[in-house]
Symmetry: C2
């Protein structure tokens, strides 16, 4: 029989196909194996739809009795948008269940596994744990903090500048890096930026990748509602535009507001905090709309504000072999850090060579660690290997 | 018989053993092969000593008649500190000579190969060219520009800062990175820094590596001669300290100057240029003393001044997974670049993962390209392969 670890990694790959469609649900992948042969595959395709286990079971053309189920996340034991998966698993006569990681959702969190064990199913927990946990980082943050998962995307010179003194930045990184950035956009629920960037670059904020166009939400932080109703973000899919503003008197800008709202775009009033919008307020509104995986492509000020509020989760830093010197514009605004001991540290650093540039990734906080440690705690209550 | 390319790479490794000892001579490695067996090895050990070919010939315990010589650099045809190597090669009855790259020194530059060909030796040119050329980068720059080869060493955060607002920088990078920096020091002829760094950190500027201590020249740019006679650089090997200053009246600081000079350290008067020392003047003085391979460990101002004067050749940038934000101190001072089109570009970029950090290397100018293109031109006149 194949290595359960390998099979689980295949389930992880299956799960990723759901990325960008599951809103506040996690992405999950599952496979059914009968006598060493895969007889069914499934993944959670979209919010409200069947869970991965059910998709895999429905995919089987033959008997599931006595088979093995591999699933990246603990099957659910509670009624959500769909009935509990564990009941179906038992009914279908599945003999053994291999679980990637335990569900961090407190409504489940071991209860699914318990139900299966009580009903005579053998359960083995903790396969390809790191990969199984990493694909649900956004979900884990949502569960723990009820906030979206924020990734910063920065394209900078080797000396940390995102533009020259005159604001010119086209192009610091090369075509290959920009393509890769569009791929990252394409698996995000939303792209967030500030009015400064919108006014300077008038971007479309869509994802153009391999000839396909995708439309994550376009989220603009615009305290004073300076945005023009002619901005390029309204050209296509204006209904996916969300403008946050803190102006107190909407009447003053009625015409513009009406024009923008008629396109289908949302303008959301938002409270102020310090010298910007209240990011907790922004986060609440995004979560309400099921926008969980947010890519921030701001200037240095926007990026710094998310870091200062401890909301930034991950950074994608494209670094080109160029330098601009002190006159260049900093990739990050003020973080109020005056001593080296207070610097922010990124964990789980990686670097990938693209064509001419390098992509650094790192995490401000690693939610997968929490999921893995929960998994370890639950594993001790399961079937011995 | 072994691949000439492989043998040449071994010669390159041999050559590197001379790094840091050859002053204005290139490092060179050589091997003698008789009937497929290596019978002699040699490298240029120190300025004024035997060249690598002669070392390899002298290393042979058996007859060199009819043998092959592999050498990373074209053998010399002129009297320098030693007689022309080509005469010895012919006398020793060597049948074939395999050359890594052609000597960029116009006194030779193909003449050595020509002499060998005229005297009935078969010559094959261009093996492991890239490696053979890269080990003589400093020499090539010296030949082309009569200047030392300047490498910048920077230890910075991901956002390009070398210290926090309060000047604290210990430690941005980790122990492993700092060890590696000491290795780079240990193969340099000199370490150059500014009086600012000396006053802030009071460094020893030696190379501590694998339990060994090495003492490259300690070169301080100190326009106003602010250095204290008690600075730590004078603790060990004060005779390897060189202070450049532009003060016009040495009499005013006689006591300090006397104290420093008595240690054996040099104080060299230097002209001013713009708001700093004239770096061409500094370069001339360093070349005079055979200091060719200089590692610059300055603050951002010193680094920027070498870049502005087009003298910086290479950059070693250690990047830690930390961020400091806009208040941090920039890794580079002003480069007077206002538009992205004018940015400086580094070629031949590489990144290596150290323990927690990453080391980026890149070149401002790639001298090995010139050596390789010279080699290609000369090759056409040689024995057919």
């Amino acid at each position: 029989m194949a290595d359960p670890h390998e099979i689980m990694l295949e389930c992880v790959n299956l799960a990723l196909a759901g990325k960008g469609h599951t809103k506040t649900n996690p992405v999950v992948g599952a496979m059914i194996v009968q006598n060493g042969r895969v007889i069914g595959r499934g993944f959670h395709k979209s919010f409200g739809g069947d869970h991965a286990e059910i998709e895999a079971i429905n995919d089987c053309e033959e008997e599931t009795n006595g088979s093995d189920l591999y699933v990246t996340l603990e099957p659910c034991s509670h009624f959500g948008k769909t009935p509990p998966c564990v009941e179906t698993i038992v009914k279908k006569g599945i003999k053994r269940v291999f679980v990637g990681v335990v569900d961090p959702n407190p409504a489940n969190a071991g209860k699914g596994i318990e139900y299966l064990l009580k009903n005579g199913v053998e359960v083995y927990v903790g396969f390809a744990e790191r990969a199984s946990a990493e694909i649900i980082e956004e979900f884990a943050k949502y569960i723990y903090k009820k906030q979206p998962f924020y990734s910063l995307k920065i394209a900078q010179t080797l000396d940390g500048k995102i533009a020259a003194k005159d604001g010119s930045s086209r192009w610091i990184t090369d075509e290959t890096s920009r393509q890769h950035a569009h791929y990252i956009r394409s698996v995000s629920d939303g792209i967030l930026t500030g009015i400064g960037t919108v006014q300077a670059d008038d971007p479309e904020l869509n994802a153009r990748f391999l000839g396909l166009k995708k439309y994550p939400y376009k989220i603009i932080l615009d305290s004073s509602l300076k945005i023009s109703a002619e901005a390029a973000i309204f050209n296509e899919k204006p209904e996916k535009c969300i403008i946050f503003t803190s102006i107190s008197n909407f009447d003053e800008k009625t015409v513009k507001i009406d024009t923008i709202r008629k396109t289908g775009a949302e303008i959301i009033p938002c409270s102020k905090l310090n010298d910007g919008l209240d990011l907790q307020n922004v986060s609440d509104e995004l979560v309400k709309r099921g926008i969980l995986n947010v890519l921030i492509e701001g200037g240095g000020k926007i990026h710094a504000s998310f870091i200062r509020e401890d909301m930034a989760d991950k950074a994608y830093v494209f670094i080109a072999g160029k330098i601009l010197g002190a006159e260049g514009i900093d990739s990050l605004g003020s973080l109020n850090i005056s001593n080296i001991e207070k610097c922010k540290t990124l964990s789980d650093l990686n670097v990938t060579r693209l064509k001419n540039d390098f992509l650094f990734t790192g995490k401000f906080y690693d939610y997968s660690k929490d999921v893995i440690s929960l998994t370890k705690r639950v594993r001790n209550r399961c079937s011995p290997e």
